[in-house]
Amino acid sequence: MKDEDNENNLYVRWLKNELSKEELEQLQKTGDNKILSKIIESVDAWSLPALSHKHKEEIDKRIAEKKTKKIVPFYRQTWFYAAASVVLLLGLFFIFKNEDKPEVKLAHVECQPGMKKTVTLADNTVIVMDGESFIEYDPVNWKNNRYIKMDGNIYFDVHQKGKFRVSYDGGRVNVLGTQFSVQHKNNFTSVKCYEGKVRVEIGSKNTALTTGQGVRSINGEVKNFDFNASDIDPLSTTTTFEDAPLEEVCNALSIHFGVKFEGNRIDFSRNFTGIYKNTSLDTALRMVFDPMGISYTRKGNTVFLENK
């Protein structure tokens, strides 16, 4: 293989019939022309089996199933959505604790990185925890006292009307709706409403969200956003983001895999649209950071980020 052949893609030009007379003669002389022709002639006639009708039918079936998922009663499903903001007054929580009552025994449920856990409460509220998360609530008085303390990535489906509040370190959410999610870790909070209505108190800001609306707070800065509420599946192996700040994506990865991110020169407010598979950390990192032009190095549970 001569270098000049490589430089001007000799064989591609042969394919396109763009060779000079001399070049073609040379290939004929060496017999290369014949070999190449035989190769192309053969492969051009090769094929792979057609797709059966079933292939498309199965796709249509799965799409139809996803569509009707929302209408099927929550407690009949094997997985649940959590969306809706929940406000839980941290203060009230403490007052409640300090009241002149026999000590309330709280239930504390934890979920580990890489796992999902579903919890059903006495009022049929269903909670799905994704990754490193916990919830704390009063199981004995639950029906009269619907306060949950949480951290991590939690999905709620609340059935019965009435007061329902969720608190996390430094914030709270009030629920009026039925399906919502709260993602909270350190200084990052994201609340999404999938169905119903939710009133969110973040910092001093008070927002009402309906289906497909969300609000996120990063280091105190609060922004509303819209998202596609129909593509959520809390037990899915892929996570989808649409114009989400990199901060939120890293937050979700942190919760799911239990890793920390460090990158002083990285602009975490850059938007990311795409998906990652949450079955393997290495795959997810590649799928998020390669398109962003960010290189990453893993050292134990910390991932160091650098602009390429």
Binding site: M1, D5, N6, N9, L10, Y11, V12, W14, L15, G31, D32, K34, I35, L36, K38, I39, I40, S42, V43, D44, A45, W46, S47, L48, P49, A50, L51, H55, K56, E58, I59, R62, I63, K66, N228, S230, D231, T238, T240, E242, T273, I275, K277, T279, S280, T283, R286, M287
Partner: protein, 177 residues
């Protein structure tokens, strides 16, 4: 983002079906070229189509093909890229060409088997480019769009594939075919 009325929406079932009709089979083939497993390729093709449907509001009709191949590439990422694949194709029956010449038929069969092995042994990038062009009849521009590379890169891969195959096949003795 508001879409102009004239633009086709992927969320329209007819449009989605048209995208399936045009892209499912070449997509399935592409995945097969990379992983060598037809069943897996068909599964991933379904996953990609479903993903397209779920994201139909965000994907422009013109960009749907690109989206499908991107999803497919991401789905295969998990699989080891260094596994050897053994591809098998449906081939034209030499029996029809020269039915009265059994030695020709046998030689052609042998030739095509060796060619199949040689193609399977090509580096992944060359293998898929070559097959997408010859078997799926995709133009260099279409391949470039699907794989998210430049047309120049496609041509380079094609050249290297042809060069490599020529070397391997040239060493065999079926030249008289």
């Amino acid at each position: 983002m508001i879409q102009p009325d004239q633009e086709q929406s992927v969320c329209e079932k007819n449009n989605f079906n048209a995208l399936y009709k045009d892209n499912a089979r070449p997509l399935r083939n592409f995945i097969y070229y990379r992983c060598g497993d037809i069943a897996k390729a068909e599964d991933f093709t379904q996953e990609a189509m479903i993903s397209l449907w779920e994201n139909c509001m965000k994907v422009q009709f013109q960009k749907a093909k690109s989206f499908l191949y991107t999803v497919a590439r991401n789905l295969i990422i998990d699989e080891s890229r260094h596994n050897k694949v053994k591809l098998a194709f449906i081939k034209q029956d030499a029996l029809n060409e020269r039915p009265e010449d059994p030695s020709y038929i046998m030689e052609k069969k042998e030739f095509e088997k060796k060619l199949e092995e040689a193609i399977s042994d090509l580096p992944e990038t060359q293998r898929e480019t070559f097959l997408m062009n010859r078997v799926d009849k995709m133009t260099f521009a279409e391949i470039a769009e699907a794989l998210d590379i430049s047309v120049k890169a496609v041509e380079k891969r094609m050249h290297l594939a042809l060069s490599s195959l020529k070397e391997k096949i040239g060493e065999l003795k079926f030249i008289k075919i």
